[in-house]
Symmetry: C2
Amino acid sequence: MDINNPLYSKQGIHLVNALFTVDRGKFKVLLIKRKNQPYKDKWILVGGACYNNETVENGMKREMQEKTGITGVDFQLFGVYSNPNRSPLMRMLAVAFISVIDCEKVKVLTQTQKTSDAEWFEIDKVKGLGYDHDEILADAVKYLKKNIFSSNILKNLFPHNFTLPLLHKASESILGKKIDRRNFRKKLLSTHIIKEDGILTQKGKKSAKLYKFCENGVEKLKF
Amino acid sequence: MDINNPLYSKQGIHLVNALFTVDRGKFKVLLIKRKNQPYKDKWILVGGACYNNETVENGMKREMQEKTGITGVDFQLFGVYSNPNRSPLMRMLAVAFISVIDCEKVKVLTQTQKTSDAEWFEIDKVKGLGYDHDEILADAVKYLKKNIFSSNILKNLFPHNFTLPLLHKASESILGKKIDRRNFRKKLLSTHIIKEDGILTQKGKKSAKLYKFCENGVEKLKF
DNA sequence: ACAAAAGTGTTGCATATACACCCATGG
DNA sequence: CCATGGGTGTATATGCAACACTTTTGT
């Protein structure tokens, strides 16, 4: 292939991460405000351009660090967005990821070289994001709801030593519906995506067992 | 962002499609032989570079047409490959798709501007592909096996008027294992990814009902 | 009439759901 | 001593897997 063919040149790669959390029962997403054109002063999902010398995963880590200060969280790829006009400057492909983290455990930068603000927003109240991030966010929410119990996607929200009632409430917040306590417990334990983590806590009325996510998610192959 | 920043420039997008078929009971993949460097004379999965003015989906269609003559087939995205060194010429991201088609119904071009050959290979016998296509192919096979009954991914293999025994045999070939006839039937009909398609065929000993895939795949949300 | 291919049925096990009940602690 | 929150159990329905039988048709 010809590197200088104008059909191929000037293509860029956006990395986008829908960073979710559950904040006192509210399902939220982290948005940052752009400092520069295009979409100056618009809220968007966390992300930026992928460099030449990095994988999309490493680029995503770097972008999260640069634009929010957040490090050490996992994410899962869920989509690719490729409308040629999704960015006005040049052709930018977007590779989209999803993360769920604990907003209490991170200190989010509100001012960086390229962002003028950062804030957790309730999902329902988000609209009018820059680029095609409204669409990406909608897909991310859908993906999260679908995969919440078939992977360890909540591991960063509850790294360890969490109680089942806590995980239960967070799951209800994310899914936006009530789940039977007892069936939730049975389901989570039977799928083996979590396991006991030793000790008991005394926070509530009655002490509760502590759990942690297993290293690998679960796969169910049919037939 | 700065368009001319060398960190971003010279990035390209590869489109790759793992095109599968079932040929007289054999699970096969379509490979093409490269005419030019890099990986000259190597077999690779069908694909090429995405242009600036097209989505990855439209680019994939164009590439299939150009390199194999195949048109009018659906495909599903299943992965992104981003090792910076996966192509020696420049940084090429790969967006990977999967299709299952009927090799009897297509005329595959063996000579095109950029390919010197094209052939259906049995999956087990494929190795040493150019680029990182060995890895992409392995992931594609895994993805297909996992999603074979939860989507209409086989629709292009059996566009309409297929019998259940036929679909049954093809599924066994793809999964590489025996499936109980009667349970297969019940499963397929209960999930509503297929529906009756009118008339009867008289090919075999006894006439069989005809089916077709429903337009949309099936989604099962838990809770 | 028999073999080969298509269709239908039954039974048992596993999983899911919708419930009720017991235990520990703080006020 | 009771309200709150955490843990366990059970009955029913539903889904899945393993199995046997009937029907049609070509030879």
